[in-house]
Amino acid sequence: APEKSGSGTDDGDKKSEAAVNDEGKVEIEFWHAMSGSGQESLDSIVEGFNESQGDYTVKAEFQGSYEELLTKLRSIGGTKDAPAIMQVFEIGTKYMIDSGYIEPMQKFIDEDGYDLEQLEENILNYYRVDGELYSMPFNSSTPVMLYNKDAFKEAGLDPEKAPETFADVIDTAAKLKTDDMYGFSMLTYGWFFEELVATQGGLYVNEENGRSGDATEAVFNGAEGLNVFRFLNEMNKAGTFGNFGTNWDDIRAAFSSGKVAMYMDSSAGVANAINSSPFEVGVAYIPHADEVERQGVIIGGASLWMSKGIADEEQKAAWEFMKYLTTPEVQAQWHLDTGYFAINPDAYEEDIVKEKWDEYPQFQVTVDQLQDTKPSIATQGALISVFPESRQQIVTALENLYQGADPQKVLDEAAEGTNRAIEIANKTKQ
């Protein structure tokens, strides 16, 4: 059987030598999953850091998608091949904490007296477990609803007033529907479902969304979840819902080419939607069930983790890099390049951001939605180690729903699948 050198439980003191490069600087690796324009921006940030000081060099290495990166981490974690910094998606948080390969961020925050107040509270909330911050938030996004203002006008609707509740959306979608255009659409992706549940204050799993202990059961098939499925089902039955699959680019292309009038997207996709659409694009909060008050959104995206068991110098380098990342200037650039939120809200005061916002006032909406979020267990997001599998269950449930299956039934099936995964995970964890 393959052995993993040093299984990460108690090697706190046998720390290795720090890797030093030709120029005498401590060199650390930073594994990330940023491709496309994200990578472009990230590379320039890393370059900025390397030039900003003389002691450390960070090497950013792309390691594939979030899943692929995590797979590699699971195999290499705790060995000498492991990097100092790694980017892991939000739903990997629970796994990372349990893995034992990582050094909680809180340790450095405390040692260094770093002021966490400067960072966006609603983002930190997600990554804070038992009051401790385990990883440094990095690329964060939330869902928003985009709509075609021109289509609104054509349908005789007020383009400045987007629908807010499920019922509103259903109505509006019906009005917007034409031969060529669907009223509403949503990527078949578990994240959006989680958001629509959370904004109603609904939980995903028990044990306070897994934050007060290991979750043992999925609860998303309760009333809130059912609301979401009914909402989608109603439009789908009415033919006003367009299904554009599981691919981000497909649904975006559908919107930009006028095949659908409203859809849910990530805040990170707003800029592109505006740029590539030949019509005016409106941005709105995500809808919520009529009978409840809007709670807000959960943060999505990824955060940065630090390895345990590496040389102190290397950890120091990693920490310095993370601090650099959170500066307003860097965050401002990051926000503009990618559309992800700035984790440091001061960034929004930077001139370059202001200029941009003047040009794209829609951005304001995304930030407002985040800042309007009411902190709660629901909007903090669930913590389970089998999240990826659970999301698949949701995708399957949604697909079955669109094929005409009963909302409650598909939702229960998804919960059942999730339960089994949770059960196995708990069983195999000593």
Binding site: E3, S35, D81, P83, A253, G269, S276
Partner: protein, 272 residues
Amino acid sequence: MTMSVPKKITFYTMLTVSAVILFFPIVYAFMISFMTGPEILQGKFFPESFHLDNYIRVFDRLPLLNYLLNSFIVSAGVMLGQLVVCSLAAYAFVFIPFRGSNFVFFLFISTMMIPWEATMIPNFFIIQNLNWLNTYQGLTLPFFALAFGTFLLRQHFKTIPKELHEASQVAGLGPFRFFLKVVLPVSKTSLVTLGAYGFLTTWNMYLWPLLVTTNNSVRTVQIGLKQLQSQEVATDWGVVMAGVIVVIIPTLLLLFLGQKQLQKGLTQGALK
């Protein structure tokens, strides 16, 4: 030999229609690689102008030349390794009849049935334990033995007239020299086919190179292609397609050259 004119016309028509249909996706990708974002969304076929912006951006963004070179080294390495290992094995199966030959052959074939995805993780541990992460041998060695290649060559070796084997034996050729001097040259077609196959599949590999490399030193070009596509942030299709074109041009080129070589081999050495 000769063909009547109407027959010729029929053939050319069929040839052309098939060629157009078959080649369309590649042309399409080529066209898109020159388009801007909005153009693509409008679903056009011809770009407004053939500007090279997308290509410039591709090369700007990634050390693509470096990736291409790595891809080339890895693919050529795998190709050569496969040719050597597979032809040796196929030769034994066809020309050295021994007891249990069928069994061993089937054992080989059975390796084809094991989905690579299922054994990738254990293999990754092997490479890691050998300390071969970020090395060319880690990228190439696991692919040297190829049941498919052995099978392909075996099928071809079987069509070599037995008289050739006999004539060489009488001429005093040992098995290894018969292999070198007759079997390999006579099987040029299959070797080129297998070579092309090995090269191209290696060139096109993504998951394994990604897994066993952690930095750019030996990374291949398919990883670069993946880096052009985004997950949550919108993908710039023009750039991606430009990447696609850059990545497939070397393989297409190789295929064209190989094709030429094949043609020559075919006309020269056809077995009767």
